[in-house]
Each structure stands twice: as C-alpha cells, then as structure tokens.
Amino acid sequence: MTVSSAPAPATGPAMKLRPRARLAVTAGRIVAWASRVVHFGTGSVIGGRVSLLIDKNLLAELTTSRDVAIVSATNGKTTTTKLLSTALGSNRPVVSNWLGANMTPGIVAALASASATDTAVLEVDERWVDSVLRATKANTVVLLNLSRDQLDRTQEVRKLAEQWRTALTTTPPRTVIANADDPLVAWAALAAPRVLWISTGQEWTADAAGCPACSGRIEFIGAEWACTSCDLRRPPIDVTVEDETISLNERTFRTPIALPGRVNRVNAAFALAASSAMGADLDTAFDALDDITEVAGRYRVADFNGTKIRLLLAKNPAGWHEALELLEGPTTPLVIAINARIADGHDPSWLWDVAYERVGARHVIAIGERRHDLAVRFRYGNISHAVADNLEDALDLVRQSPDFDSTVPVDVASNYTAFQDHLEKVGGVL
C-alpha cells in the first residue's frame, strides 16, 4: 500500500504510457516532491492536479491493466479502504489512496507511483464516484452509507444517491457491495446488475425518511424498511453483521477485529465481502484485518506531554452516533474538539443532531475553533463541561479532575481538521 512516495521510478511491470501521460506523471511527482520539501503536506493532491492539467485522461490510462475497487460513503470509507487493501494485500500487490486524498488528483498521484498491474483499492469522495467509475471502469464498487455532512457545502444526500444510481447505470461494475439498511444507498445500488447486500444494522436513519425513488415516506419496522408509496424496500440480505460475528458465503467469522466498535465490524464485513468478490481467500483476508490497530491515526493511543491520549475521529451526526458507542460507559473526563473550516463544513448546527448526552456523567472539555458552540450544546444537554483554548490546556483541566485516571488514555474525539491538528501533535500518520 503506497501513497505517492518519493519521485522514484515505480517497481514491477513498467507502465506503458503514452508520452503525454508519462510527462504528466513525471511533472506531478516533481511538484509533489517540491510541495513536501516546503512542508505543505504529502503533496499528493497538488502533484495529481499538475498531472491532470497535462493529461486529463490520465486516470483512465493508469487503470487500463489493473483490477480496480472503489469505496465510497459519507462515513467509513478511509477505514474500509484500508481494510480492503490489507485483506487483498495478503496475496497480491495493492495500491491505495487510503490517506484520504480521495478525488481524482489524489487518486492519480497514488496510482502513478505504483506498478501498472497492482490491484487498486480507491477511496472516492461521494461526489466523485461517477467520474472515477467512468475513468477506471472499476470491477468492484463498495457503497457504505449516505448521510448529512458539511451542511453548507455538500449537495443534498438525495442528489448524491441519484448521482450514484446514474453512475452505476452508465458504467455498470461487475459487483457492487452495498448497505441494504440505508435506503439511499440501496436505491442507488439497485441500478447495478449484481449486488452483494450487507445488513449493517445501521441505526442512523434520520437522513433517509424521504423515499429517494418517489419522495414518499420510508417506514422502518424492526430491521426492515419499505416505502409507503412505491415498491422500494429493503433488498434480501447476503451478508450479516452481528455482535460477535460476520456471516457471508455460508461461513461465519468471529469478531472482534482489532479496531474497536460496531462500526468497524461493519467496515470489516464490507472489506471481506469485497475481497471475496475479488477472488481473495477469506481466511487469509480475515486474519490480515486483525493486524490493523489504527487507520490514518484514527484510534491511535499516543503520549502527549506526558499524558496518554486516544485519538478518535467523528465528522457528522452518523459518525458521532458510532463514536459515542466508544465514549459512553467510562467515567473519566474527555476532550471534544470541533472546527468549522472548509473541510469540516462551515455550519456546525449538526452538533444538535448528536446525542452527546450519551457521555452521561463524564466531564467534557470543549476545544477547537467552535468550542463555544459545543459549550452551548453541552449546557442544554446538562452535560458537565468546561472550555479550553487548545489541547494542552484541555489536558491540564483533565488532569485536575478528580475522575482522571492516569492509566486510562484520555479520549480526544475531534472532527476532521481538528483531528488532523491533533494527529500532527502526536507525530502524524505513521
């Protein structure tokens, strides 16, 4: 699994690219390298952009001789991409963009650094599924969920479902692995010729009350759902995720895997189903998943200024719904950080769609650029809280709390850019 690394020649079978494409790849590598030198980040996005300026068909060219899988969703796409890459990586070379540069430029940068025939597992932004699928003609498409995110920026979730449906109609992949419990995803995936349906037990359904097919009303009854006006309903299930097991192909795998929480059992089920559809041996694939303890810094336990902290990422109400599973129960104080930069969405009103009350009696320190929005949310939730200016000050307050336990990592749960800031403080992506 490589993300565009040094501007070195790729190993393995040489890529037979047209001269223009070769120039595009080389220029992209140089720009990416220059960008890293001036500490602007990994440089993969800007390098990819330069490559695409020179050759706009580069993505199609870079994927002519490989098996491609696309993973998209509002939540869980980075983790599932990593899990699928690892599952497949046990028996073949895999290239992936799992560090999160998930639009065409980032994807091009990742592929340009790999051998021409490596299997590609691509995390794709929800809005880019159509164009990436057209260019790559991916054999496998994994669709996890769609929910509200970045209220001011991303298109309405219904429009995204429509785009996905169009994409799967125009460029049908061999297999789609889709969430049967998310009506928006199910409606989109029903356009594909072959679908493996996963029952995820998704609890967040607040964004799917309106039927995507007829704008009637979706009724949820137990595990089932159906539109009250048209014939859209939950499709028959192929893969199920229970508390301690994942069942597929008439086999049962005992979880847990190393990553915590229900949501990661679901992500693992998607990765297993996809790797099985792509011809991997399920036992080897499943064993490989257990070696993953963090994904791009998520769930990392690290030492920060002498205090052990655990980094968690939750970007939107559906993500917080899953993260709170890990945050409810203990009594030790925790830190929650919210920013509202462009990558987070400028409108954090969604904080009021999150049941932060689930932290119970835990004392919460609010940080991040929108810490006052959090404090007001906590005040109305009758949640014990304080406000601090940064992570250092927040941990000072945590250590002063009578409920602090130095043997237990302090949970630091953040949304996207706040998480990136904290990850940098503990050494960045490993």
Partner: protein, 268 residues
C-alpha cells in the same frame, strides 16, 4: 392572542410539538426544541415535548409548534401532509405560537419554489411568498441588529439575532406581516430584512440553531405562552461567549478568506 393566562399555566405543562423532524430536520433545528424545553425546566415550568413524524396525526392542542429546515423533496411532502391534516391551521386559529425555520418558513407562506423552481402553493399561515432568485445560494453567517418581535405582551427587544443561513429563495413579506428588523451581514429575506411574523406565526432563515444562538428570541416565544412573570433570569454565560464570537465572525466576514493553503492542499 395567547389563549392561556399565566395563572392557569401552573397546573398544566407547556406543550411543544416538533413537526416532521424526519422530513424537515437537516440543519440541526431539532435543537430549538431542546433549548425551549430546558429554559422552561430550569425555571421550574413543566414541559411536554412531542415529536410528530410524517404520516402521524398533527395535534391541534399544543402551545408551540416547531418546523425545521429541509431539502426540496421532503419540503413538498411536508406541505402536502400539513395541508391534508389541517391540524396546524386549527392550532394557529386557537392562538398557538409557531416557529418555522428556512424551508419551514417557506412552506408556511402563500407560495414557495420546489426542487425544479416551479411555484407551489404553501400553507398560507405566514403572509409572505418565496421565489427562486438567480443568484448563488446564500450560505454564511446572518446577523440582524435591533431585532424586535411583537407578541401578546407587547414588543420585545431581541437585540442582535445571530445564525447561519443556507437557502436559495427570496422571501417577500406581505402587508399583514412584520420582519425582525434589518440585516447587517448576510442575505436574510433578500430585501434587507430578516424574518416574517404574522400574528403568532414566526418564520426565520436563522439556523445555528436559531434559539441556541438567540436566547432572547427563545424567551420571547416562551413568554408569549407563559407570561412575563414566569420568566426568571437564567445563566447564559456560555451562550454570551458564543454570541460575542459569532457576531465578531459575521462582521469579519469569516467565510470569505478562511481557506488556508494547508486546508486546500489537504482536501480541496
């Protein structure tokens, strides 16, 4: 306008209904119900909050109704159901207070645009109409200064109203409606004013949620129902810190220049 006198309020809980949060709940507007409920509880006033999902009957006996913002498709569905039920209409006839946010405000007017831009008949509870205008969607901080609200207990000074707006409509208030006041930052109704108030029905483009950011507006709505004598002061220090910060951000035009190079390289 209010049907209940403050004295009779002691025995019965204030009944708050959130209408169709499953259809109109995209922008965190559910927080408005929590804010109202807590501000009553903290004052020792009983509150009974009910959520009415689409398809369920709309009660006409509540004191306060909340309608949130939402997407174009569900907006049309909500209008259809509220029109068929007429429960909200009966409640307003009996003097219930209504707070409708964004798409909720649009559908309560005489006309509003659907997803295709075509004009649809609204519920006619607010004297206004909303049209689609040929400009980029208004997305950003919205600030209204010297806002006021005429209630059964006289005109309440609301001070600055702060929130976040996200809409493509222009709302034109009719002759029997009032606005909150003049917009200082942002778009609001689109004619320099923000908010539409017709009798006991209040509409606004403010998300945030509106009542989380503007406790005076929350209290003005509650006072309408329980009367001024029940409205003891509360500790709003967390909210005041947020308001100070957001009002400054709106005046700095926070959204325009905040795209740092680092952010763009990371994830644009």
């Amino acid at each position: 306008m209010s049907t209940t006198s403050p004295s009779s309020r002691a025995e019965s809980a204030v009944r708050i209904v959130s209408l169709y949060p499953d259809l109109l709940g995209t922008y965190g507007d559910g927080g408005n119900a929590l804010v109202l409920s807590r501000r009553l509880e903290w004052r020792g006033i009983a509150v009974e909050h009910t959520t009415v999902d689409a398809g369920a009957p709309v009660p006409d006996s509540a004191d306060l109704y909340l309608v949130g913002g939402g997407e174009d498709g569900p907006q049309v569905q909500a209008t259809r159901e509220l029109d068929q039920s007429q429960g909200l209409h009966r409640a307003v006839d009996k003097g219930a207070v209504v707070l409708a946010i964004c798409a909720g405000m649009q559908i309560l007017g005489h006309h509003f645009p659907d997803a295709t831009g075509a004009s649809r008949s609204g519920l006619g509870l607010l004297d206004c109409k909303t049209v689609r205008v040929d400009r980029p969607r208004a997305v950003g901080e919205l600030l209204t200064t010297n806002a006021r609200l005429a209630t059964a207990h006289g005109v309440v000074e609301l001070g600055q109203l702060t929130g976040f707006e996200n809409h493509a409509g222009r709302t034109i208030p009719g002759p029997t409606s009032l606005s909150f006041g003049a917009v200082e930052v942002g778009e609001g109704n689109g004619d320099g004013s923000e908010g539409v108030v017709t009798g006991t029905v209040v509409g606004t483009y403010l998300h945030g949620p509106a009542l989380a950011r503007n406790p005076r507006l929350a209290d003005a709505l509650l006072e309408w129902i329980v009367g001024p004598s029940a409205m003891s002061p509360l500790d709003d220090s967390d909210v005041e810190a947020l308001r100070t910060e957001r009002i400054a951000a709106a005046r700095d035009h926070e959204l325009a220049p905040r795209r740092s190079w680092r952010d763009i390289l990371r994830r644009s």
